[in-house]
């Protein structure tokens, strides 16, 4: 696989099976997908269609049963798990529906987490954490708070800051607005739009049309197969309208 200019990730004929007892369920059935640097992609589809499985494979959290996954032209489906962990740390930032912040830690310590395996010296960490928090519109006073002392929207912004702190190439978000009220969801979408505007690649699994309207590619997945690729007009994105 040649490394085409701007091509960050490519999935070629990816199949994923789950086995429960004797029953084998195919969650993905031959998915082909390319992610170019700077893309803002939404993956949409009904529940159980394979969206999260696809996101896990893009995020190197899971291996395909069949098929290849290329990152910068390198087949990563055969890499050992520690190598995949290093690749995730360097290239991928994750945002989850339930935020997945560690409740016992302060906001500072939560955002700091990806910097630990990256081997960033404690001296440089504070600056990087502040920069990430600023990028999501967070406030410095949050740093000493525990996640539970923040609102849902604020917590998700902290989670996005944690995903951004290592300056990864791609941000993957699984239903990032699923647990938020409309106002908070708008702020989160706004954050993703800003991140993407700065050139960072974003892939979002969502049901939320307001999010989908702001992306540049929408993959529709049904029964483990990508059925459709749409390119929405930015005019539909309320945030872009506001920015204009």
């Amino acid at each position: 696989m040649s490394n085409e200019k701007g091509l960050l990730m490519q999935l070629v004929d990816v199949w994923k099976a789950y086995r429960v007892g004797d029953v084998v369920t195919w969650a993905l059935k031959g998915v082909n997908l390319s992610i170019v640097r700077g893309d803002f992609i939404a993956i949409m589809g009904p529940s159980g269609s394979g969206k999260t499985t696809l996101l896990n494979i893009i995020g190197l959290l899971d291996r395909p049963t069949k098929g290849k996954v290329y990152v910068d032209g390198v087949d990563v489906s055969v890499l050992p798990s520690d190598e995949l962990a290093r690749l995730r740390n360097k290239k991928i930032g994750f945002v989850f529906q339930q935020f997945n912040l560690v409740a016992r830690m302060t906001v500072y310590e939560n955002i700091e987490l990806p910097l630990i395996p990256a081997g960033v010296s404690p001296r440089l960490r504070r600056e990087m954490i502040l920069r990430a928090l600023k990028a999501v519109g967070g406030e410095e006073e949050w740093l000493i708070k525990k996640p539970t002392q923040l609102s849902g929207g604020q917590q998700q912004r902290v989670a996005i800051a944690r995903a951004l702190v290592n300056n990864p190439e791609i941000i993957l978000a699984d239903e990032p607005t699923g647990n938020l009220d409309r106002a908070s969801a708008r702020v989160v979408v706004d954050t993703f739009v800003k991140i993407n505007t700065r050139g960072q690649t974003v892939v979002v699994v969502t049901h939320d049309p307001e999010v989908a309207n702001c992306v540049n590619k929408i993959y529709i997945i049904r029964d483990g197969v990508i059925k459709d690729l749409r390119t929405p007009s930015k005019n539909e994105c309320l945030l872009y309208k506001e920015i204009k």
Partner: protein
Amino acid sequence: MLKDIFRYAMKVLTEKRFRAVLTIIGISIGPLALVMMTSTVRGYANYVEGAILALGQNTVVILPSERYRLSSSDLDYIRSLDEVDEAEPFYSTQGYIQTAEGRRNVFIYAVNPSILVKAIGNLELEDGEFPLDVEITYCVIGYSIAYSTTSNTRLFETGDSITVNVVEVLSGGKLNLRRISLRVKGVLREFGGAALVSPDQTIFLPARSGPTILNIKDISGIFIVARDPSLVDVLVRKIRDVYQDKVTVVAFQQIARTVSSVTAALDFIVFSASLSAFAVAVAGTASTMITSVIERTREIGVLKALGFTDKQVVFMILAESIIMSLIGGAIGIVSGVIGAHILSSRGLAIPAGPSGSSGLLIVANPEITADLVLTTVFITVAVGIVGGTLPAYRAAKIPPATALRYE
């Protein structure tokens, strides 16, 4: 990285404080038992061994059995042996004296002072001198007899007279108490450690006082001093070969060796017993860590998603169990040291004289060595590592996507 891992582990432990404290208490039992029991046993063993060796490595004592009477011909035979430097008979009994502080039990030995000084090392006079052989009513008294038990004042001075109630064995085995009056000619320095003989609580008379003043017809035993410590075993064998079970041969050197081997066995038993406490601690730690890992499955998934490798996850979980074991070890060792002092201060009753008829309470300090503490720390940390390994491995092997789905 290491600092971050330990900081993270501390956060986890402080969040689940109650569970961590209970596990730490469980871990601390092993080091407590090991330090307390081992140091106490070693302290007493060293005390007894030291006290026996202080009696003289060349010394051998012969005590007749009930069916046999030692005579001057036995003495001549013993003296004729090549290995023997000196041999003297002694007469011993017990009695008590009355002082202003009440009744005090004493041992009474009638023996030639020259062999006494050779046989019992470190036996020195504080003042006065040993009585001559003909001075049968003169005596030297032990430190504990001469001094008050409560203050450092003398109850008896050189030249004082001392009345002793002596136990006499009459024909037919009947016991009788006879009052004798002696004059103090010397006072011994404090001897300290007491095993087999207790000079501090003894009145020494010249050998001739035995059959006369003390009215003891038969020789109680023979003190022998060998020419060299290396000849003691040969000498003991020779005497045993000749006398068979007519006499008991006591060599302080051999007793010390026996005590030493008994101590080694006891040490091993104590160590094995403590290991069972450590085994329970391993199970306790593993159980706590498994629970902790299961509760944090999703969190571990997040860490992996953020780039923590399997090895880093293993270290994180192990760090928790190692921290708990280090704290448990520290608590166990400190309480073990305190416990050992309490246990030792209660004292140990051992037979005081060759006849074993009267008990003595000895108090020895526990022997807490760097070696013991280091071994304990090493085993305790091993508890943490062994107890944490399976949960850590389990945590590391959870696929991140599965961990993130965990409810």
